[in-house]
């Protein structure tokens, strides 16, 4: 379970980026965090991952193991000399994860067995994201945090990735926190949506979110079937 109470954050003496956030995420849920650029989504994720310390308030995280899939494809050094298998091997060895067949199983999970010896720079955005999801779930995490998993990826790969994340949540019962710009995917896959705007957030259900989003961005309030 993840419980966020009166959470505020600012860098030094600058104005608050996050202002008094409160929400609770129970085990096995899939939550998407939505909002405009600069609304504080990434900061919230960094706080949940423990990369930043709250200025005020608390984050109570009872999950045993958290895995993170960052949004790295665009910034990746495409000439980095590392194969898919080596990416997974160094993760397994550095974390001392047991299992002689773990890498093969992880590649099978994302249906990428034939790419084991491919250099990471030769992969497409979708393939790269799948490898990073495979790496993240290697240690059987109970919380998976993803940062815009469909960013810069074609529609076909997007569908495959969301199917994969959904099955990890629904079948393996891994709790998912996903920062999203893909409204359609968020509404289709999430149990809950957390809408952020100017450092303030609130929980809503997918149907209400559409109305709120339309009101905020177009001034029109009507239900659209997605």
């Amino acid at each position: 379970m993840l419980q966020i109470k009166n959470l505020s954050f600012s860098y030094g003496n600058t104005p608050y980026i996050l202002n008094n956030l409160n929400f609770e995420l129970s085990d096995g849920k899939y939550i998407s965090i939505l909002g405009e650029n600069g609304s504080g989504k990434s900061t919230l994720i960094k706080l949940i991952l423990g990369l930043l310390t709250p200025t005020k308030g608390t984050i109570q995280n009872t999950f045993q193991q958290t895995a993170y899939v960052s949004q790295r494809f665009e910034s990746l050094n495409k000439q980095f000399p590392i194969t898919v298998k080596e990416v997974l091997t160094c993760y397994q060895k550095a974390r001392h994860l047991p299992g002689s067949n773990l890498i093969a199983e992880s590649l099978a999970l994302v249906n990428m067995q034939e790419y084991a010896d491919a250099l990471i720079g030769t992969l497409s955005g979708g393939q790269f994201q799948k490898i990073f999801i495979a790496r993240a779930v290697m240690g059987n995490p109970d919380l998976l945090v993803l940062d815009e998993p469909s960013n810069g990826i074609d529609i076909k790969s997007q569908n495959e990735i969301y199917q994969l994340i959904r099955s990890l949540n629904r079948e393996k019962h891994i709790t998912v926190i996903c920062v999203e710009h893909n409204l359609k995917a968020a509404i289709r896959n999430s149990h809950l949506l957390y809408h952020m705007s100017n450092g303030i957030g609130h929980m809503c259900n997918p149907k209400n979110y559409i109305n709120e989003y339309l009101m905020e961005n177009t001034g029109v309030e009507e239900y659209v079937s997605i």
Binding site: L49, G50, L51, T66, A67, Y68, S70, R72, Q79, F80, P81, I82, T83, K85, E86, V87, T89, C90, Y91, K93, A94, R95, D117, L119
Partner: protein, 273 residues
């Protein structure tokens, strides 16, 4: 030439250097921090000067002072995140300042030229044992941290979240760079040590292989650079540092040319078939 004791020592040290330099170089180059090698090489000159002045083995002096500067660089790198290269300039200025002041003031009663340009004539048995011990300890530590280092340079944020002690490993790595430089300066020379750290890896990267093959090719190229450099310098009676640097550059150019030819000839040969 192997009838001479100094030549046997020099050759043994050369083998150790040819393994250690690319091993460290691989992580430095991929971290895009090759200039750290150059900065710490200059810092080692200050260490040599302090060692000679205080009658301590100059290699040990170089190791201690270079390790200190390595740790300082790592500490400041965290503080000045967006201006990391500035720290290298500061440390380089400080260490060269110490070295030149000590040497030019006459406080050091010895010739430091052999450390600047490299020399195989000055390798004593004591140096050999010290270098061997430092090399073996360094190789052992790298073998223990190999996968964590690989994970960190590929995805430092991911390593941090996965629970890898990134901060501690970065400090240990800084000391390993210092040890490698201290071990290498006597044969290769302070002025060209950074080329031996970066060039064999730059050459191996042209082959576009995975991490382990690139590292192994780097070690092979480094071995070719050092051994042929030592042999050639012996025959033409020149300082080994300069010859090793020249061989490294020519080998890189050779591999680049070979790759270009293969890239262009490949499709033509396919069409001919």
């Amino acid at each position: 030439m192997f009838q001479y004791n100094f030549m046997q020592n020099a050759f043994m040290i050369a083998i150790l250097i040819s393994i250690l330099c690319p091993l460290i170089g691989m992580f430095l180059v991929l971290k895009r921090y090759s200039m750290m090698g150059d900065t710490l090489a200059h810092a080692s000159l200050a260490g040599v000067a302090v060692g000679l002045m205080s009658h301590v083995n100059p290699i040990l002096g170089a190791f201690l002072l270079t390790s200190f500067f390595g740790v300082v660089i790592e500490r400041l790198r965290r503080h000045f995140k967006n201006y990391a290269e500035l720290i290298l300039v500061v440390i380089l200025s400080l260490s060269v300042g110490i070295a030149i002041t000590l040497i030019s003031s006459g406080a050091v009663h010895a010739n430091v030229d052999s450390f600047l340009f490299g020399s195989i004539l000055t390798v004593t048995s004591q140096d050999f044992y010290l270098v061997s011990a430092l090399s073996l300890i360094s190789l052992f530590i790298i073998s223990q941290l190999y996968h964590s280092l690989m994970f960190m340079i590929f995805d430092e944020e991911g390593a941090l979240i996965a629970g890898i002690n990134v901060k501690w490993i970065n400090y240990v790595f800084s000391i390993l760079v210092a040890a490698t430089i201290s071990i290498s300066i006597q044969i290769v020379g302070i002025l060209v040590i950074s080329s031996l750290i970066a060039l064999p890896i730059a050459t191996a990267l042209q082959l576009q292989r995975g991490f382990k093959p690139t590292l192994l090719y780097g070690i092979l190229f480094s071995f070719i650079d050092i051994v042929s450099g030592i042999f050639l310098s012996y025959w033409i009676n020149a300082a080994p540092g300069g010859v090793i640097a020249l061989v490294s550059v020519f080998l890189l150019l050779g591999v680049l040319t070979f790759q270009k030819i293969v890239c262009h000839a490949g499709p033509i040969l396919k069409l001919a078939k």
